[in-house]
Amino acid sequence: MRHALDAAALESFPDDASLGKHFDAVSDLRLRRDAAAARVVDFEALRTHAASIKRHTLDHLDSYLARFEERAQEAGCTVHWAVDAEEHNRIVHGILAERGVRHVVKSKSMLTEECGLNPFLESRGIEVADTDLGERIVQLGREAPSHIVVPAIHRSREYVGELFHRTLGSPPDETDPAALSAVARRDLRRRFLQAEAGITGVNFGIAETGALVVCTNEGNADLGMHLPPVHIACMGIEKLIPRVEDLPVFLRLLARSATGQAITAYTTVVRGPRPGAELHVVLVDNGRTRLLSDPEHRDALACIRCGACLNTCPVYRRAGGHAYGQTVAGPIGSVLAPGFREDTPGRTLPFASSLCGSCSAVCPVKIDLHEQLLLWRTRTPFGAARAPLGARLAARILARPRLYRLTGRLARGLWPILSKRWPGNPVGAWLEGRALPPHPGTSFRTRLAGRKERGP
């Protein structure tokens, strides 16, 4: 468990200036969220209602899934089920291969990222173009997204200028965001028109009507859905809501929580394929049923992927998404990862938190994130029958007063050495980004005894 050292090694940020920019950009999203929430007089009532709808849905998910499937099929969709990432990828590939598809456009879907769909398809000769501009940037730069809503928030305009020059042929010194976006627009418009299939995620699935809801600001999901003859929508089973009238409750919370907008530029509600086209829905488990059967942690499945918890988290702001080493970063990523599977590397992430609780305060569906992080700490197995050596040693020392005093004298004596950074210093990781207080002199007990002798 070496999060402080790993964050540095992963080099989320090459220098302090880019770290500062990331910190400010992400903090700004939190401020925008607050400003938007303040303008909605019933914002807290919305949160309570949305939280309640999601928990009810999770408690009755089997009947809602069955209803969604039935209604979606009535509307003309083909519904597929995938138990894990591998099955999801095989199903999607199967649909494409059967139709001889070689060029696919894909809008933002954390689920397809989670399943590793792009490399799976590309190794089988199918070209996938991510069409969300942030996703396109990380795709061309051959890296993972670092934020679930703003995937390239860790990258500067200079970086994108150089990247687009290399990969899209933009002018060598172009760094103006509008000009760079125009270059990407031209390239992707061509791909939209040529694509033989479009893959999207799903923000909400409506059980009552079998409809899929996709929210974007760019309109890339729409171009990907409406131009090619085949639309494949990939959805985690927890994304369902019961009724059409529930949708506005979530839509009024989603964009405000994510970026402070009242609503995304485009909110598309699709019931079945358009005439002459195909619509496939792939329902994915991939660890969700495991989390659902855990009564203390199942409510994390209420998540609507707004990213508000990332934006407010002091750890995320400072470390960046790549430091988490998994698809979804931030507080929600840290509670989903240990829930989805037993031995995920992300199981130590609950320890990389200050437990400040800011995440829980902004979650639109009131997931008790910071309490779940604490609970995961008590439940995380480290693969050893006993606690780590340091913890056992500390327990022994604290239980024996003479040993405690001796250790204290030793520590004060070695203070000048321990308080400096050097390779192998056991206090080393703690000292990354922190300075210890000055030498305490004598122990508290000694000072107290001296004061008692001198009298009041």
């Binding site: 928990r55 942030g134 909110t267």
Partner: protein
């Protein structure tokens, strides 16, 4: 056992069936004001013209089109405004890619929401779904009587107006802030103008 049975079985075993549906949401009702609608559209990067008297709608639309420069103007079939020879109607059966050179697309909105500036459009055939996204500039025509205060009322009004078919809520031009700053026209239209028609 199929994957479907496996997943549904696991979900059934996990479901606690305890927490109940909270019932309908009671939103605080407010007056739908055109001024609130206009402000919301502007905050999203769009523009509003009007309310404009019925007779002035064609000239208002054409002056908006002229503002955006020259190029093909295409209107959706359900638009009940005559723009004469200045515009052509989108053929619902056209190959969507043939609309790629559309300069301005003019469409009719069904409902407008004052709290967020969103306008609902039906999603019909392929060409009609693609038209509002392939154009450089989008113009939506909406009646003042079609305004509602919030999104809850918006969905209710939409159900009144048509059956539960596919639709889209459009609240502004296409945009992105993925490269540090806000940019319009990420993939779809660079501008959105709503022409509000007076009662």
């Amino acid at each position: 056992m199929t994957t479907r049975e496996r997943i549904l079985g696991a979900v059934t075993r996990a479901c606690s069936r305890t927490r109940v549906y909270p019932g309908p949401y009671a939103s605080p009702t407010t007056e739908p004001l055109a001024s609130d609608f206009g402000r919301a559209i502007r905050e999203a990067g769009g523009r509003m013209e009007g309310p404009v008297p019925h007779g002035d709608v064609p000239s208002t639309i054409l002056s908006v089109c002229r503002l955006q420069g020259t190029g093909p103007v295409r209107v959706t079939p359900d638009l009940d405004v005559d723009l004469g020879s200045h515009a052509s109607t989108v053929d619902p059966d056209a190959v969507p890619a043939s609309l790629d050179d559309t300069h301005v697309c003019v469409a009719r909105g069904l409902v407008g929401v004052c709290e967020n500036g969103a306008v609902a459009l039906p999603l019909e055939s392929g060409a009609l779904r693609a038209a509002p996204f392939l154009c450089e500039h989008l113009v939506l025509v909406l009646g003042v009587a079609d305004l509602v205060s919030d999104l809850h009322a918006g969905f209710v009004r939409l159900l009144d107006r048509r059956s539960e078919g596919s639709h889209i809520w459009i609240s502004g031009p296409s945009k992105t802030a993925d490269i540090e700053e806000l940019v319009f026209g990420a993939h779809g239209p660079r501008t959105l103008t709503v022409v509000l028609v007076a009662d």
